[in-house]
């Protein structure tokens, strides 16, 4: 029994390292090759856990060989467009200039119901609202609405706006997030001065975000939580 616990911890650490080496992607954003590798890794990792007579090294070699292949494939795919098509496939235009491409839909085995559902998920409930829709390699649908249905922007209204830059979390649950401060080119001292001005202590803050202009939002910790 104890060896199962140790093996599980070991495999957990190794698989986590392997997946991290592959790069950050959510399951929904995975390319076909990444999905295949992830499924294979989960299967292989389970073998030494279920069958304790199997040495862990067999699973280890297989998992890291898959990670190696995935990294190499991703590098090759980045450099060579033709190989990218072979490994990852290509995006398919489903709606062009407001017209449904039925041949393209057939080629990706997409039904009208699938398309309507995907459009609804993007916030479009009528086909006539769409100018272009592209089925991406990862299976997501990118939609460009017709200009008459596009959301109104400050530019349309000729309103001048200022860019505030990216907002980062600088305090999370009472702890200063150095990576966020570094991104904003600020130091802990800068942050402490700002907090002092507002009569705040970092320990009392649940979350604090800040943008490059130094503006942000502070949410204090609730008492008793």
């Amino acid at each position: 029994m104890l060896k199962v616990i140790v093996r599980t911890v070991l495999m957990y650490i190794l698989v986590t390292i392997g997946v991290r080496l592959m790069g950050k992607r959510q399951i929904g954003d995975m390319q076909p090759t990444e999905l295949v590798i992830t499924l294979l890794i989960s299967e292989i990792a389970a073998i030494p856990l279920q069958d304790t007579s199997q040495p862990v090294s067999i699973g280890l070699i297989a998992i890291f060989m898959l990670v190696f292949l995935e990294i190499v494939a991703s590098i090759i795919v980045m450099k060579n467009l033709r190989l990218r098509r072979i490994f990852s496939g290509k995006s398919v235009v489903i709606i062009k200039n407001g017209v449904l491409d039925q041949k393209a839909m057939k080629s990706v085995r997409m039904t009208v119901f699938d398309l309507i559902e995907m459009l609804r998920m993007q916030g479009y409930f009528e086909l006539e609202e769409i100018e272009s829709a592209i089925l991406e390699i990862n299976g997501n649908l990118s939609v460009k609405p017709k200009s008459s249905f596009a959301p109104l922007t400050p530019k349309d209204m000729k309103i001048k706006t200022e860019e505030n830059g990216l907002s980062m979390t600088v305090i999370s649950d009472g702890t200063i997030v150095d990576a966020g401060l570094k991104f904003l080119n600020k130091t802990r001292d800068d942050l402490k001065i700002m907090l002092k001005k507002q009569n705040l202590n970092e320990k009392d803050i649940f979350v604090m975000t800040m943008n490059e202009s130094g503006e942000g939002v502070v949410v204090k910790k609730e008492k008793g939580v």
């Binding site: 007579s53 040495p55 060989m65 990670v67 990294i71 590098i75």
Partner: protein, 121 residues
Amino acid sequence: MKRLIAAGIILVLIIILSITGITIINRCSKEVEKRITEIHNNAVTNKNYAKDFVSFWESKREILAIFVNHEEIDDIGRVAARMASAEKTNNINDMLEAADEIVFIIKGIKEDEHLSWFTVL
């Protein structure tokens, strides 16, 4: 570049681990075959070779367990114990039969590590 370095390190580690495994299995297999030949050659004179083999196998179990299926290691251990028992009771035929069985199992383990159509497919 960072990912390429990571891939290179992974490949080197995989190769090192694989070569280490194959080398350990081959060395162990050679030693087993040598010891079994000694048992065959000295079966009649009975010089505790089988008993020595059991202690030898016990010393190799842990390192082999990293690369070889534990059931196969246990199989050899079990047959070796049977061989030692046959040696003790002067049952030469049983002892030699067990010795041949050990060679058969260890050859199977060794062949499993060889790259061939049979092992790959």
